[in-house]
Amino acid sequence: MAERESKIKTAEEMAGKLREISIAEFFEKNRHLLGFDNPAKALLTVVKEAVDNSLDACEDARILPEVKVSIREPRQVFRILTETGEEIARVVKEDNKVQMQVGDEKAKLTETKEPKKSETVYLFQHDVDTWKFRVYRTEKKGEDGKPFTEESYEAVRGRTEFKVAKQPADRYLISVEDNGPGIVKEHIPRVFGKLLYGSKFAGGKQGRGQQGIGISAALLYAQLTTGKPARIWSRTSASKPVHYFELRIDTTKNEPIIVDERTMKELDGKGLREHGIRVELEVEGKYIQRHHSVEEYMKQAAAVNPFAHLTYVEPDGTVIDFPRAVNELPRPAKSMKPHPHGVEMGMLERMLKLTDSRVLSGFLAKEFVRVGGQAANEVIKLARLKPDMKPKDMDHEQVERLWRTLQNYAFMKPPMDALSPISEEKFMEGVKKEYKPEFLAAVTRPPAVYRGNPFQIEVVMGYGGSLPSQGPGKLLRFANRVPLLYQAASCATTKAVQKVEWRHYGLDQTSGIPQGPVVVAVHMASVWIPYVSEAKEAIDPYPIIIKEMKLALQEAARRLQKYMSGKKRKEDAAQRTSLFEKYIPIAAEAIAKVAEVPEGKIQTALLGMLNKGEVVKEAEQAPDAEKVPEGEIKKTLKTAGEK
């Protein structure tokens, strides 16, 4: 019994252990919720959050964006191996410092030489041994014609050569720089070092970010995996200095810690010549290629932001340029007060507590869009409340009655100027420059509303050209001009694509996805995108959203089909003509011989008829024409098609 008693804890004892968990601390433990589930995805998420911020800032300031992303390996480890593969020494290159370790002992760097531009030699002394570590650089061109530098290494002790194995990198230095307006010095620590800080959480306006979490979560991730502080440079104009910060986040308080802070006149020629932000984060990550790669993200971002000039420098130095296709920003989105249909119960309660309005009728008219004095009074009456009630004094039951009435009252639709679609023409230019199809169709649906939030669907379909002719078509998913790379299966875009009978539009389809040289880009613009999760990877499939997407897709598919059938007709006619052209000489020769007439005359006459084309058309429709089995016609066309 006594033993059992000792295990029982009182509520008072337990209360002593309870404490408030900060948001920062919560996300530290649940980082997958924000897209940092694994090293490969984390790398992409960091890039994505920084790029989103840069593009949003540029657009808000009406500046044509220039965003440069570069990823480097901050630390390279070379293992020096014996014949049998045992490591006898290692060379570590970090922050331009080169160190060598032989067994447990450090070797001394005695000399660094650069005998050629393509070669660097480091000499180390350890005990009586002299070590030579040599790096060769070769300029190469990749399959896609992009130049890159390939390095090779060599280690020699005295006269003995050793094998060198470079360890795969597990951490990367990500740097993102923009030409946006910059951030004033006082705001920098909180913008980057405090979660849920910023203009965005209040909502009401279409933008890439909508929570104010993204970039600070990236900082948190860097801090968590490498322990390194974030480095931030900001400049607000060419005549002002550069402000530099090294920041950490105090996870218990959700407050920034300033590690270092400096003001400098210039950035020694390395960027930020006018205004903008540069962020550098060192994170644990994995560099991958293809589907979910940073390159894929940049390419898609370039397609959906054709007014932006993006540059991406890969870890091996390859520079990928995504030039601007249009020189005009989309129309700016206006801010919008919440629509009563879009407000949630909890949010309404909070708004009532925080409002400056002294009476309920004033509150409704002031805080919501599409609620005038008359509508406010009607709602209050229907909810059995009083217009002169103090919002702050309402009890839970009253708030609930108000909320229910708001949901059911027929308000006018929200204003649509809060939306900023890309526009058919610009979206088309974007997809065109990145995917180079031979045909494009763009459809922008009129704005629609889900739960009080205005939204608009835009679709671009591309066909042929540089697109791969085999396999499933490419689906590009975008929300507020941000590419979505993960969770395709649960996304409204995928579901809408699968609802279209592509076969009816002359395309092959497999599990609902069009096959062949097709690219389908779907963009949803909205004041509030309903994401499936906080990681913002997929759009929640509301029926009205799917319906709008489907209508846009069908219209684009119709145009594509029209194009393809026109193309097929032309090809058929050309094939026909070339078929007869091939047979004319031999037919003319035989007819001339049998009829005993000059061959040239027959041939000229036949070619003349072919060029006029009328006789050819008539013959295809003659009622008493000989019936030839399908197989034989195919054979004729096939043999004629041979080259």
Binding site: Y583, E589, V594, L606, A622, A625, E632
Partner: protein, 361 residues
Amino acid sequence: MMAKDETKQKVKQMGTKLAKDIESNKNPTFDVPIRALSNVSFDPKTRLITLGNKTAKRFFFNVAHVRKFVQTIEAAATAKDLLEAGKHLSLREVFYKMKRTIPGTQINVVDEQEESNKAIEDMELLTGQSREQLHINANKNGSAAGKIIIEDKGDLIDWSKLGSGGWSIPSNVEDIRFKKVDAKFVIYAEKAAEWERMHEDRVWQKMDCIIIASQGQATRGVRRLLQRLHEEHKLPIYVLVDLDPWGTYIYSVLKFGSIGLAHISERQAITGARYLGLTPDDITKYDLKKHLIRFEDVDLKRLEQVKSYPWFKENKKWQEFFTKMGALKGKVELAALTSKGITFLSDKYIPEKIKNKDWIE
């Protein structure tokens, strides 16, 4: 010589018609008689299958026709060459002559002999001249032996003195002359095996007759030879075939002509041919039931087709024959008679059937 000039003239007319079309800016066209069941009829008076007058247009400027069109005119050009040079070519040789590659392409005018054969048949219809008149010969495919002496290209040939191989029947038998005919009838066998049996057993000597065989459907040369013996020397022709729809159709072609060659029925059909092949009654009579080979679907389908041809449809005897064949659900080959004894066919089956007039007409 007259006939040859007429043939030349007919061939030239084919070309002239096309040249005229072209001159008046019309799509050059052949009017090809349709060779299908829909355009043949059975004339009860002549008891022949004859071609109707339905034609189809074959255009040059038509994706579906162009290849066939070129093949037809190319066949005409080939015939013209042959007639002018006074030489003959076999169907196979004509195929190689026509298999030309169109300059600058990889297209051949014909790729398979089937195509050149069809083009030649079309030519026969368009000119009204037979293949032989156009100097094109089929491969020879037939053997003969028996009590007859013939003259071929100045050589006298006694069909009773030809050893074990017999006389090989050429594709063109028009110029053969029958010098001395001692035979009283002719037996035509569907397969070489039966011919070998009869020849070894000296049936033609014992029964004063001629024995002839080719492989499967009788070639044109064989059919024309049989027709001439039947018409010029009034020899009855007995047809020895297996009991199955395919065998019956061999008899049918010999007697009434064929659908594909309805245009030359009167030069081919042997109106008095008698069916001496196995009958459904023989199966019981000779106890051959255990040798039945079950019909496949194609056999049953063919049986229904043959049974409903107009020339069999009105004939009660034949309808009964086919009904019984269907009831057997299988076919029986002549070779099965060997089970009754090695020379059963020669010593019993044939003599008894002829003696008892146990044939069908």
